[in-house]
Symmetry: C7
Subunit: 94 residues, 7 copies
């Protein structure tokens, strides 16, 4: 199991849906990568100068919208994850 440190959030990025027209798969515009993901693990929060941990605003199971081009992609046990800082998460999708 991956336990992110600090304000990091581990997510699995949503796959691009295949659009089909009458059964024919259409290629998506390569420039519009999905920016939605599912949170699989969150860190304990950023530690301030006073040694306090700032609570996280996202939790495991949240569907989130993230800032494209942010985060590091890692492979672990054949799954691909994106590790983001919480500040790279723009919104929670309710």
């Amino acid at each position: 199991m991956l336990k992110p440190l600090g304000d990091r959030v581990i997510v699995t990025v949503d796959k691009e849906e295949e659009k089909t027209v009458g059964g024919i798969v259409l290629a998506n515009n390569a420039k519009e990568k999905p920016q939605t993901a599912d949170v699989v693990a969150v860190g304990e929060g950023l530690v301030t100068e006073d040694g306090k941990k700032l609570p996280m605003n996202v939790k495991k199971g949240d569907k989130v919208l993230f800032d494209k081009y942010s985060g590091s992609t890692v492979k672990y046990e054949d799954n691909e994850y994106l590790i983001l800082h919480e500040k790279d998460i723009m919104a929670v999708i309710d």
Copy 2:
């Protein structure tokens, strides 16, 4: 529903009005994009080092003037939104 995090503000940018002269649509000067938008959702505010949340100065329904070239455009459920940080909002239009 999109719930922005931190000091983020989700807006819908105003459409450029078509100028017509005797019914003929005139092209706008492409360089003068609208910088006004309607606030559709606001975050809970930036968290300070002490763990306090700074209150937001804009609210849902406000018409705002924003700093051009700021923000990230996202598509969600066929609508296009702009996600700004509150600091990118220059003024509220009353």
Copy 3:
């Protein structure tokens, strides 16, 4: 009405006076743009980490000298304004 946020100040930049010699309008040196303006609206002040607002040092009606190349020009209801941060105002003209 435009209500600037934070430490922003909305001004109208002074027009370049036309210099005339015997009624003939002389072109000004293009490089010497006016750097004086009239304050039309001020924000409530920058919010500190403690959540306090720092009072503004300029007020509506002040004539100010501003740092050239600073600020964003906006058009609103057919008027052109410059939106500055207070730090871009170098002096008040008394």
Copy 4:
């Protein structure tokens, strides 16, 4: 023995496993360097402006996932180590 200073963490980077197919060693994709490592020593923590030490979130023996391209490689007594700052460690592998 190496005693790291501040929030530094000394790790030994995992070796790339050789993939064999029917006994034949396959070259790994050179671009996918391992990002997992074993913690061999940790510093006492970053000292804040108040002179307090912030506790470390990783400990000797932890298996960690680190940010690629971070850290300094050093050779000491014929072993090769990577010296990271704690902020370069993205997650602990449990």
Copy 5:
């Protein structure tokens, strides 16, 4: 009258003395611009995060030595001034 804001200082830069040899004016080395000036007005001081004003260390009438290439030149009522931040003043000449 110009009232500088914050930690700004308005000065008039000393003119380069003409060196004469037997009445003949010699050109100065263009690279050695004067770096001395007379203080004509000072701001009320930089405002800290706590809302306090830090007292200024120069006052009207001081002769100062300033960091070359710093400051903004402004023209006001046919006089030319240099507006500096106090940190750009290296020394007071007593």
Copy 6:
């Protein structure tokens, strides 16, 4: 005697050992400069905003591992020293 200021540490960098094979000196790989050094003097520590001095974590006589490309080389009384900031020292060798 050199008394370093602030969090500076003066060290003498270890010489590269000559490797000999049967008495023949072998050139070392020029790229692997030694990164170990002996501490000859330490400053009194960095002064914080509150005017307190943060204690140093290295002391005279320590053997240390330092970040290559950091520090300034100085010659003093025919000896060559490297002056580092404490943050450039990665580990103490025990």
Copy 7:
């Protein structure tokens, strides 16, 4: 008299000694400029956010070792001085 502001230190840089061999002046290696200087005046110290002055660690008369390429050279009453910030002074020579 020059009274430096803040944490500034005014020094006179040591002259390069002429090396003579049998009375013949030898050129020094131009790259090894002296980095030692005599302190002629010190400022009152950097002012912190709380309005306190941090005491200076060098005093008039000290011989110091400074960071090459730092400081501004000024001419005043036919003497040449170097104005440094205290952080550019690496060590006091005792």
